[in-house]
């Protein structure tokens, strides 16, 4: 299976995302923001970082990059798309996921090992996890507060589309402690914490993050074939 990782100007975690893909047993494919071509990959990861320097709004300018036209079209066909941190912000700005990410409530950049409750293990990126269990992966962001109107929040909760929720004190003011969500189909997942930094023994707090990248090995091929 080939998994594309998009590099935008200012992406930081594209290297770690490709490493996570490799450790999960898939072939990482580097994709370029200005290239309106997914090169036939079976799934796409939008990595963390500060695309376009976070100018205008986090992820806003990246969401109009040529490659995103293809990512949005692919997501519509059911191709799995994972947005991590800045990638989550890009997914929200692209309207692939509802809501938006705003500056942390405490106005501080966070860098910590974060416990998360897995609430939805039926998405393309979480099928190797178990709902109701906890994972711990790094969280590092300045603008990670998830916001949406009450109606949207109720719909996300009602439809089981909250994928991850923060455990313990709310780190960034995200409404209802939401750390990650999915679209209706379950092929697009966005989260602020960084599973790609927790995939190898000796590097990062756990290897819990690897499950997201192994999950897609089965889900992705099914979606593309559909």
């Amino acid at each position: 299976m080939r998994i594309g990782v998009v590099t935008f100007p200012g992406s930081l975690d594209d290297g770690d995302a490709r490493r996570a893909v490799r450790l999960a047993g898939a072939e990482p494919v580097a994709l370029w923001h200005a290239d309106a071509d997914l090169h036939g990959v079976d799934a796409v990861v939008l990595p963390g970082g500060f695309s376009y320097g976070d100018y205008l709004r986090c992820g806003a300018i990246a969401s109009f990059a040529p490659v995103m036209t293809e990512v949005v079209a692919a997501a519509g066909r059911g191709v799995p798309v994972l947005g991590i941190c800045n990638g989550f912000q890009v997914l929200c700005e692209s309207h692939l996921l509802p809501g938006a990410l705003v500056r942390n409530e405490a106005q501080k950049f966070i860098c910590t090992d974060q416990r998360l409750l897995v609430e939805n293990a039926d998405t393309a990126w979480t099928s190797a996890l178990t709902a109701g269990t906890e994972i711990t992966v790094p969280l590092k962001n300045g603008e990670g507060g998830f916001v949406a109107d009450t109606e949207t929040l109720d719909r996300l909760e009602g439809e089981g589309r909250v994928v991850f929720r923060y455990v313990g004190p709310n780190p960034n003011g995200s409404l209802r402690g939401i750390a990650g969500i999915t679209n209706e189909r379950g092929n697009v997942v966005g989260l602020m914490p960084h599973p790609e930094h927790a995939v190898e023994e000796g590097f990062g707090p756990t290897t819990d993050g690897l499950a997201l990248f192994t999950s897609v090995l089965t889900a992705g091929l099914a979606a593309v074939g559909a």
């Binding site: 929200c92 509802p98 705003v102 500056r103 916001v147 949406a148 003011g173």
Partner: protein, 89 residues
């Protein structure tokens, strides 16, 4: 050369941590009259010619699609800067 000015503000119901930080700093400098601050954005769009109704319409569309995110922000005003400057000069 014409100029269109666009003001974008965080929606009232969205917490504005930047404004909160500013309002916390004001009394430390003796500015004690202010109970709240909200921080927004001002964009100045330059055009080669005059600001025509077509230019304003395009600016409004840009404000709604790129310059603001309707989930968290409101476009407060889109106006011809030249018109305002003449009036206040």
């Amino acid at each position: 050369m014409g100029r269109v000015v666009i003001d974008v503000m965080p929606k009232p119901e969205i917490l504005d941590p930047q404004g909160k930080a500013v309002v916390g700093a004001l009394p430390r400098l003796g500015f004690d009259a202010f109970t709240g601050v909200r921080q927004g954005k001002r964009f100045e769009l330059e055009v080669a010619g005059e600001v025509t109704p077509e230019v304003l319409a395009q600016a409004r569309a840009a404000a709604e699609t790129l310059l603001s995110n309707p989930v968290i922000e409101d476009v407060v005003s889109v106006r011809d800067a030249g018109a305002g400057e003449v009036a206040s000069a």
